[in-house]
């Protein structure tokens, strides 16, 4: 069980806005996050990952406290080890596809499996500059999965994929999420995109 009750101040042109989320998420659930632009969807994922600190609140994962602002407890991103798929992919320009996965994991069999799922085996020695947008996005997903995360945070993870590739990848990911028993949060602007994948929804909107 992931229990989240946080408040985070957001910078906005129209004065001060607050991101407020108070909700529990079952282990293994896949939650679609949606809401207007600038509402703090990406910030919400970063708060879970420990990349951004909330002004107030508590995050508990299976009774382990990740954040408790009142007690000044904040687990580092390294200790949380959430898989994170960044909207801009955040691929390392100096590393090949294979090196990206080896940077995240020492498990050669797992890396090979991920390369097969992402259909990137033949591109293992390529650096991001020589990959298409879709291939880069798949690599970002595989890298996040390489650490076998308990929680996977995905920010617009399928936006650059064509329909066929998206459908094939989603069906593979469903099996993988189940295998990892990962709790997944996915931001998406396209309501149809995640049909059949998510079992929960979270609407994020700001409060003035």
């Amino acid at each position: 069980m992931i229990s989240i009750d946080i408040q985070k101040k957001l910078k906005a042109y129209s004065g001060q806005q607050w991101l407020k989320v108070n909700r529990d998420f079952a282990d293994g659930s896949i939650t679609k996050i949606y809401g207007p632009s600038g509402a703090g969807k990406t910030t919400f994922l970063k708060v879970i990952a420990g990349l951004v600190q909330p002004e107030k609140g508590i995050i508990k994962v299976d009774d382990r406290v990740w954040v408790d602002t009142a007690s000044k407890i904040t687990l580092s991103p390294q200790d949380r080890r959430t898989g994170f798929v960044f909207q801009d992919y955040a691929l390392f320009p100096n590393m090949t596809v294979q090196q990206h996965l080896e940077y995240a994991s020492n498990d050669a069999r797992w890396i090979q499996k991920l390369l097969t799922i992402g259909k990137l085996e033949t591109l293992a020695t390529h650096k991001p500059l020589y990959l298409s947008g879709g291939q880069q996005q798949r690599l970002a997903i595989l890298r996040a999965l390489a650490i076998k995360p308990q929680i996977l945070l995905m920010d617009e993870p399928f936006s650059a994929l064509d329909a066929a590739m998206k459908a094939a990848l989603i069906s593979e990911l469903k099996v993988l999420f189940n295998e990892l028993k990962a709790t997944v949060f996915i931001i998406s602007h396209n309501p149809q995109e995640l049909e059949g994948l998510c079992d929960e929804e979270l609407m994020i909107d700001t409060e003035g």
Binding site: L51, P77, R80, T82, F84, F86, F92, Y103, R143
Partner: protein, 223 residues
């Protein structure tokens, strides 16, 4: 023809560049992350040698490290180290004087990298040090090379600050730029020309090397 000023200059530039690389990498990394009043003040101090007359910096170093009083006296009595009119004094002055040339390009390059690169590395369980060495540093190679070459070349050309703190002692503090001045003063234009030509050639080869290496990576070689 006495070539010792050229060798001394190359030795000084190499030691200064090496020391500044050790100091500059962590300092530039720290300065590139966020802003605070301490960082702003420190950055202003580091940038001062760019705008301050070298003789002013040299004068203050001369006063600060004079063996007659203060820090200079303490260093001499405690560690038997004298910075005034010695080679280590030249190194100290050069490190201070060339610091903005090492820090500037590295800091600027680190700031231009997307924040998500380091963040992605942290979520993979990597420490800030691992992230710096394996992700950030390899992706600023052109700027790192620029910083190294600029620091080296700038140290080759130092005059005012090294003259003030080091004087003109053959084989100890008489670097090439001082040898040029000294030769002209002594009406030995042939020697001045040889020193000048050698400095010109070394610097030109270094700068053109950076231009060639960086042409694929940066819009301007000094980026």
């Amino acid at each position: 023809m006495d070539l010792s000023p050229i060798w001394l200059t190359l030795k000084l530039a190499s030691i200064t560049t090496f020391l500044l690389l050790l100091i500059g990498l962590p300092l530039a990394w720290w300065l590139s992350k966020g802003k605070s009043i301490i960082k702003i003040i420190l950055e202003a101090i580091i940038t001062m040698p760019l705008v301050l007359p070298p003789s002013v910096l040299g004068f203050y170093l001369l006063i600060a490290f004079s063996p007659q009083h203060g820090v200079g006296k303490w260093l001499l009595q405690t560690f038997n180290i004298q910075f005034v009119f010695s080679f280590q004094g030249l190194v100290l002055a050069s490190v201070i004087y060339s610091m903005p040339f090492m820090i500037g390009p590295i800091k600027s390059a680190l700031q231009q990298l997307p924040a998500s690169l380091a963040q992605a590395s942290y979520t993979l369980g990597k420490t800030p040090r691992q992230t710096f060495l394996r992700v950030l540093l390899p992706n600023i190679k052109p700027s790192l090379l620029t910083a190294i070459v600029l620091t080296f070349a700038h140290t080759l050309g130092e005059f005012g600050v090294v003259l003030m703190i080091g004087g003109n002692i053959p084989n100890v503090t008489r670097v090439a730029s001082i040898a040029v001045y000294d030769s002209v003063e002594g009406m030995d234009y042939a020697a001045a020309n040889t020193y000048s030509l050698l400095l010109f050639c070394i610097t030109f080869v270094l700068v053109i090397g950076v231009f060639i290496f960086n042409k694929a990576h940066a819009k301007s070689p000094l980026e």
